[in-house]
Structure formats: C-alpha cells, structure tokens
C-alpha cells in the first residue's frame, strides 16, 4: 500500500506570548520556535506502521517554506521513503486554496497512491479542513477523526472514528481514500538527532507551489488579527511560593474538599 502523508511545520506557541503587529495585519512569530504539527507526527507513524505490515511506501509531502525541509527529514527518519517539498513562501489561510494546490500537485505530477493521510488539524490555524476538501475534490471517500485502523485490505479498510464522550464508530471505507488522523491513535516512535542526520542523505525533491496554484482565488480572507476578549474573572494568587500554596490549601478547605 502506498501512502501519501502531509506534514506541516508549525509555530510552537504553547508557552509563547504572541503579539499582533502592523495594526492587526500580522502576528509576530519571529521569536517563536517551530516544530512538526503534532497530528502529522501521529499520521506518519500510522502510515509507517501500515507499510511495515503490508509493504509499499510512505511519501511525506510538505507545503511550505524552505525550512519545512526539517519536517520531511524527520518523516524520513521515521520511515518515509521520499520527501517532497512544495515550496511556497506565502501562508495559505484558506484551506480551500491549500487543498486545491495539493490536488493539482498530485494530478499534474501523477503521484501514485492508495491512501492519503493528513492530520485532523494543524496546531496553528486549527481549521481541520484540508483532508475533507481534498477528499471531495478528488472524488474519494473521506473520514476524519480516525482513532484506530483495525484492518487494511487491498480494496478497503476498517477504521474507527472518534466521536464525543469516549464513543467511537467503526466504519468501512473503500481504497483509495483520504483519512485525517486523530492524535492519540498510536505512540509515535522516538526520532533521534542521529536518525535525522542520516535522513538528510536521502534526497528530497523540491517543487514550486506556483506551478500548481488553484485557478480560483481564496474563498475567505483574514481582515485582521485580534486578541481574545479578556473575561478576567480569576483572582490571581501572587507572592512567595509558600504563601501562594498556603492560600491554595486554604481555598480547598473553604470549599470543603480538603481537611
């Protein structure tokens, strides 16, 4: 089974203070570290596990700037055979534009595949749309929130989708198809610096995004960026650690959950 996996290099903003600049026109990411999108890490692992069992290859593809080569090397270190960078210096905020670029790329370059994996969403924009739009424009069956792959056959797969409240649904989906992989589906393997260095020796092909641009312009546009509305109801406990922790225990006592 040949699997295409999309992987994105994203800003790791968990513990970063983000600032908007140019009167709302952009978000300053100049001091923020970048990393592989968490969901894509699970997707690559899942794809590699499948080809380890069924044979075939995993091809990692990244749409992004030159720095995105980093996530391709990482994917190769995990077990992908090839890495393709579709190089673009601009950020696509419209998932429709991104998906149609991928569609054009796959079709023009005639890239063979049985299954396409994307992450459920990317950590930065949280759109969660690229897989679904891609499935629809390629005319292929699609499922998102894939939290388990129970069986892989030549012409179909049995998969589990994550719903709410701990519930899952098992579905049958025909191959070829597009699947968006949910975090937690597996335990991604550890990638060492040595492994990534070794992966650098595998040639990564670079393509120009402009050659595959969608004919239609973006369907949506960002008018401006804004900070969240501050609700600010929390009473902040400040001071020395002893004092703060003492206050915390005091609150627990007052609420009757701790003696």
């Amino acid at each position: 089974m040949n699997i295409l996996v999309f992987t994105k290099r994203v800003a790791a903003t968990q513990e970063e203070e983000l600032r908007i600049r140019d009167e709302g026109a952009s978000v300053d990411l100049s001091k923020v570290p970048f990393k592989i999108n968490d969901w894509d890490n699970y997707s690559i692992e899942e794809a590699v596990r499948i080809v380890e069992k069924t044979g075939g290859t995993v091809t990692a593809i990244s749409i992004g700037d030159a720095e995105s080569d980093e996530v391709l090397r990482r994917a190769i270190a995990m077990g992908a055979k090839d890495g393709f960078l579709v190089n673009s210096e601009s950020v696509f905020h419209d998932p429709g534009v991104r998906s149609r670029l991928i569609q054009n790329f796959i079709q023009k370059e005639n890239i063979p595949f049985d299954v396409i994996f994307t992450g459920v969403q990317s950590e930065d924009d949280q759109f969660g749309c690229v897989g679904g739009i891609l499935g629809a424009v390629l005319g292929l069956p699609y499922s998102s929130m894939v939290i388990g792959i129970d069986a892989v056959e030549k012409d179909h797969m049995i998969i589990r989708r994550e719903l709410e409240g701990g519930l899952q649904e098992r579905i049958k989906i025909t191959v070829p198809c597009v699947l968006s992989i949910q975090s937690g589906i597996n335990e991604p393997r550890y990638v060492s610096i040595m492994g990534i260095r070794k992966a650098s020796k595998v040639e990564r092909k670079v393509f120009k995004a402009a050659d595959y641009a969608a004919e239609a312009g973006p369907g949506i546009e960002v008018v401006q960026w804004a900070y969240p509305e501050k609700k600010g109801v929390a009473t902040m406990l400040t001071g020395e650690l002893d004092v703060v922790c003492g206050q915390l225990l005091g609150i627990l006592k007052e609420k009757g959950v701790f003696q």
Partner: protein, 308 residues
C-alpha cells in the same frame, strides 16, 4: 430566497444541545432558519422556521458522502442558502470540510463570534491566543460553530413548519459498521468532588507518580487533558473534555493545562476552577476562579511539603 441551512447534529436518537449554537448564529445573521434532520423522533424544540426531514436513517445522514447527495436535492428544491451551518464536533468538522470541497464553497471552522457591523467571523488561532477575523468572498459560506458561543441568540420560533423530502441511496465508499463503547474505568471521574487534572505542562510520563502522590495526599481524583491521554500517560476514561468526560466537581484544580476549548467545554461548569500554569497567557485563566502563574512542579512539591 435568502436562508440559513442548519445541518442538525444527532446521535443515537439524541438531538445534540450544541445545535442551539447553530440556531443562534442563524438568528444573529438575520436569516430564515431551515434545519435539516434525518428521519426519527428528535426533541428539537422550536429553534428553526422550517425543519426539512430527510427520509434516511441517522447513520446515513451523518456520513459526509451521503450528506453531499442530500444537499444537492435541497439546493435544487430551495436554491442555494446564504450560509450552511454545522456544529464544530466530530461530525460537523468532518462534514463542513467535505461539503465545502464538494460544492466549491468557502469555509470557516470553529467560529466563536460574529461581528454584525463588519460582517466578519471570529476564528481561533494558536489555541485561542489569537483570533482571526474572516470575511468570505462570495458564498454560500460553510461554517462550523463552537459549542457555547451562540446559544444565547437562539430564538424560540412561534411556529415551525415541517417538510419531508425523499432520501438518497447510501454510497458504498463509506459505510457505518457499529458503535464502539469506551473501555470500563477503574474510577468514574464524573462522580468526584475534587479533581486534580494534569496537562501537557507536566512534561513527561515520569512526573505522573508524583502527581498521583499529590492527588492521594489531597484526597483528589487524578484526571488529565487530551495531550496526557494521547501520550498514554493516563488511561482514556480519565480524560476531561468533549472527546472524554464532562465533569462538574466542587473543585477542579488544573495543573499545566493551557485550556483548549474542547477541554474547557468539559469542565467549565465546575463550582470552583483553580488553574496553575507558567504561561500567563494560557486561555484557562479566562475561565478560572483562582489562578497561579508558576512552575507546576514547584507548586506540587511545595504543597506536599506543607502537608507533610
């Protein structure tokens, strides 16, 4: 005819409460609300002007490939809507994207606000640290709306018309097999009065025993947010959030949890929320009653030291 098409989310006979948010944004947009539902006896209330019942079962309706064929019939009969509204859930996220792709419509997901004057939709970026204000170029625009964001705007309609349309033949490319229930839990976190909940901020699995120890000393039950469950540091039945459990303890002590909305939705009704996080910008502080900006391991060790 100008209208908003609400794609109702139903599951195992239940009309999901978050459909109220879909009705709410339809009202904010000032559109006639037409709600699409599969066959079945659902408690919908009067939140739409028109209900269009499709003669298909729930599992057929909840499949984006079938939904595309259903929507084609609706558009042929009524013309295109101005907006197509989904819940931002497992079903809605999947089907909003597929619908947008199938018809070439613009899409904005996880919409949590709408500025009527400027006609822009608010969408979270970077786990709620920044919001993008989006405008659609043309339409109909497909939206998935964040649970809890618009329900206050849902208006009680005086009368709801009910229409029926014929179903579609289910596609073969994707078919429902069965529901799979969660594994049995050793402890029910929804019954606890006091939850100590840990998140990504704990750093690695080796820290778990020290938090178990703290929970033991505090007589709290240990739970976790999605990243902790994904990494298998705690079992799935201990997950707080939309894909895990919804909890309402007397005290919810969150350590190292930044507060993704899926997590907030699962604990926001707790009587008292205390958040400890070293990131002053963590969204969880917006929902907490008490907050401490500190290294969670230091707070953990100090609490243990004080308790002896």
């Amino acid at each position: 005819m100008s209208y908003a098409l609400i794609i109702a989310e139903v599951r195992r006979g239940v009309f999901e409460e978050r459909n109220l948010d879909s009705a709410g944004i339809a009202a904010l947009l000032g559109k006639e609300a037409v709600m699409l539902l599969p066959d079945g006896a659902y408690q919908t209330g009067n939140i739409a002007d028109t209900i269009v019942k499709v003669k298909v079962g729930e599992e057929v309706f909840l499949n984006p490939l079938n939904l595309k064929n259903i929507l084609e019939k609706v558009f042929t009969a009524r013309g295109n809507p101005d907006v197509i509204i989904f819940t931002h859930s497992s079903f809605g996220m999947e089907s909003a994207a597929y619908t947008a792709g199938a018809f070439g419509f613009p899409v904005v997901t996880d919409v949590s606000g709408y500025d009527k004057e400027r006609g822009v939709f608010l969408k979270s970026y970077y786990s709620d640290k920044i919001f993008g204000e989006f405008k659609a170029n043309g339409g109909p625009v497909v939206l998935s709306v964040r649970s809890g964001s618009f329900k206050e705007f849902a208006a009680e309609k005086t009368a709801t018309r009910v229409e029926e349309i014929e179903g579609v033949a289910p596609v073969e490319g994707r078919t429902f097999v069965e529901y799979v229930e969660e594994e049995k839990a050793d402890v029910d976190i929804t019954k606890a009065d006091f939850l100590l909940s840990v998140g990504r901020g704990i750093g690695n699995k080796d820290e778990i025993p020290a938090y178990e120890d703290l929970a033991g000393k505090l007589k709290a039950v240990l739970s976790g947010s999605r990243p902790v469950i994904d990494k298998m540091w705690l079992p799935k039945p201990r997950q707080v959030g939309t894909s895990g459990k919804t909890v309402k303890p007397k005290v919810y002590l969150a350590m190292g949890i930044s507060g993704a909305f899926q997590h907030i939705a699962g604990m926001k009704d707790s009587e008292c929320i205390i958040a400890v996080n070293k990131d002053t910008e963590a969204p969880i502080f917006q929902y907490a009653h008490f907050g401490i900006v500190a290294d969670i391991h230091k707070v953990r060790d100090k609490l243990k030291e004080i308790m002896g």
